[in-house]
Symmetry: C2
Subunit: 302 residues, 2 copies
Amino acid sequence: MVDVCLLGCGGMLPLHDRYLTSLIISYKGRKLLIDCGEGTQMTLRASKSGFKTIDTICITHYHADHISGIVGVLLGIANSGRKEPLTIIGPVGLESVISGLIVIAPELPFDINLVELPENKSVITVGGYIVHSIQLDHSINCVGYKIEIKRDRKFDKYKAECLGVPKEIWNKLRKEENVNYKGKLYTSDMVLGEERKGINISYITDTRPFDDLIEFIEESDLFICEGMYGNDEDFEKAVDKKHMTFRESAYLAKSANVKELWLTHYSPALTDPENYIKNANEVFQNSVLGEDRLRKTLYFDR
Amino acid sequence: MVDVCLLGCGGMLPLHDRYLTSLIISYKGRKLLIDCGEGTQMTLRASKSGFKTIDTICITHYHADHISGIVGVLLGIANSGRKEPLTIIGPVGLESVISGLIVIAPELPFDINLVELPENKSVITVGGYIVHSIQLDHSINCVGYKIEIKRDRKFDKYKAECLGVPKEIWNKLRKEENVNYKGKLYTSDMVLGEERKGINISYITDTRPFDDLIEFIEESDLFICEGMYGNDEDFEKAVDKKHMTFRESAYLAKSANVKELWLTHYSPALTDPENYIKNANEVFQNSVLGEDRLRKTLYFDR
């Protein structure tokens, strides 16, 4: 099972009663964080998620509301006692942004691996997660993420026996791909059953909708998507500012046949998102208003 | 009259229910802000103080809890429509810190004047305030501030008449130091009464106490001072970490004969400062527990 917590639901400015949009995913005790605007360490602390096992931080783009809290998060991780290296992923420019911001945290007790994403699409495996990225359509270079959590394959005793795999190495082959035993090579494929459906969580913010995005997020178990504007009348504003209305996000959710949509990244002017959720629900019924520290546990299909 | 608002009272880490220590002073529609840790823009927005008339930002030192929110504050000022230049004051290193952090706010609509303070003491006049600084005793280069607000001198009609200053330039001499009129030089001194006592607000955090500090803060109308630890038993910790206990701050307040002490910059572990205020009150009765957005209006002496 995979735990998901939306740490904040605001866009543009962190407010006293609404943190900036950020997501933390926990699976098997390892965590992946997406976006760190100002205040993320505060809501992260309030969520009681813990800092120490954050292995990976994905940044969508370098507008302050998505990145300016990263030093606070890194210091929080340092205070937690972590010594193991950590990976930060983001679009081109990551190195200069991080080296600029880190000027006030010169002595972190862990190494940081920086991964600058290529344009268009990419897939990286890191910290037990498969991180897919796609180029979005925003006012600056911005990427969307799909986090794929693979489900372990079942041990297939019958197959192992049929293929004559010695019992002594069964356990080892559950964890390792290749095992040499008494001069013969055995592979994990010889003891594991079929691939099983994993869990996909998509996180798309600061973009206009476009066709390729539908394929990217297709059949996500959870689709976290910006809804900068609730009112349909703000459509022109959404086009102009390169954001989306609730209704547009819901169309994406419906077209991609996702299981559930969480709206987030509300404009500070949108003080009453609950008055507009019907605009999303009319299009896609399983649309939910994101709120600070909204949580869900996702289970693999039975 | 001078308005003072303590925007936060925490130290080290911004918490969900306690912002980091920061102070805003307003006088005649112009504002001066001291320290900007992560979240300062959030509590500033909640305080309804407004961003546009912040002319000056003073930074005590470059630990993240005192500086990492500065980009958010600068962007808030930019959003408010300010175009006029702004001054940032801080110890040596200011230029490299600001140029690092500002990488995520490349297009601010106003110029920034950076003033790096010399070691030991200094006095600067900026934005209608006289900013005094003193070197503190912390783990890194750190300064304390005393903000002096001069009181306008009264117009002295009797003096003006005795010295034969023409009535036509009385008003002008209230605002300008020198006025030439019909070939003769007149000075404001010729129409203004005696100097009057102004208002002094001292802001001292992240330091051990020391003798020179008493003279620096002497007779302050308001003395805002760190109290990282409430419990007297944390004295050794205070010495080690270069901070102060409530009792030590109160001794400073008493020795300097200030009017009022506000304790602030509580350790995140100090969840119940109210249980320790007696340690300060025993020494200096007018000790007050700082809290987020604690306000006071200071009046000039009658």
